[in-house]
Symmetry: C2
DNA sequence: TTACATGCAAACTGTTTGCAAATAT
DNA sequence: ATATTTGCAAACAGTTTGCATGTAA
């Protein structure tokens, strides 16, 4: 396992050429294999996305590429280590990955298990208490849970 | 935006008599069995608590009462349905239950997997965007993740 | 007495891992 | 050539469930 920890690429969304994708992977220290290119295309080829491993696996199969579920998991974790995706703790029962790695928050539609970004500018959190001695804040997650009105 | 299902009684923390606990369970429509009394004592007998099922099981065994893990799970869910505890989505790998069912937020110490309440008054969230059509906000979770400084 | 609760082990879900075969450089 | 990556199936953790037995009312 040799991950290169570099500043995550400000990738342009929208259909990404294989060359761009290859570059992206290379810079992350990952060989551009068929599987990683297929997953990368789905993840980074069309704006910000929220996926579970299972869902991404279904998608890649539907797209005609065969990639094992284990590889989907491994790849998502490699992408995460490379800073290309962020993992979200939303719902204990499955892991969600977000291709938007910038600072932003989420709506979560409970019944549908569906996630949506909240524009980064809108929410403001203040009145934060001091973290306990010897600790620092690494990240603040805000999840706005929605139900049918 | 600060919707709350009516919480069924702000029970007094601190060592709770068996009679009080029995009452509490009765009002929740739950028979005061040995197991539920033992778990209830641990959960509601000493201020606000954050527990995983596994940890609570260890505790109750350590306290000399034998309660199966399955019963711990079942009981936590019954307590949750009764509004006596709240389940937290913090970390995909295990479920945490919080005996503080009022509106408040959390510090989460990543490495230790430890949770702490943040005083309810301190954090303020504003600039919330409108929920999508036909949806309403059921709850807002704020988790402040901490790492060693 | 009877409806509810428990314990056990087995089932299940989502995720991870070990290892031989395949692939990228 | 060789280091990395993959797929598979088996392992795994946490959680849930079916059912016979035990218990509260």
């Amino acid at each position: 396992m040799n991950e290169r920890h570099e500043t995550p690429e400000p990738e342009t969304p929208e259909p990404m050429s294989e060359t761009r994708l290859t570059e992206l992977l290379r810079r992350a220290g990952l060989r551009p294999t068929r599987q990683r290119l297929a997953l990368g295309q789905l993840l980074f080829g069309s704006g910000d996305r929220h996926v579970s491993a299972e869902a991404l696996h279904a998608e890649v199969e539907a797209a005609g590429e065969s990639v094992s579920l284990a590889t989907v998991y491994n790849t998502l974790h490699q992408f995460k280590r490379a800073g290309l995706v962020r993992e979200l703790a939303i719902d204990g029962s499955r892991a969600y990955f977000d291709t938007n790695v910038s600072n932003h928050n989420h709506f979560f539609i409970e019944d549908a298990g569906e996630l949506m970004d909240i524009d980064s500018g809108s929410i403001r959190v203040d009145g934060l208490p001091e973290p306990p001695e010897g600790m620092r804040i690494s990240h603040i997650d805000v999840v706005v849970r929605l139900v049918k009105a």
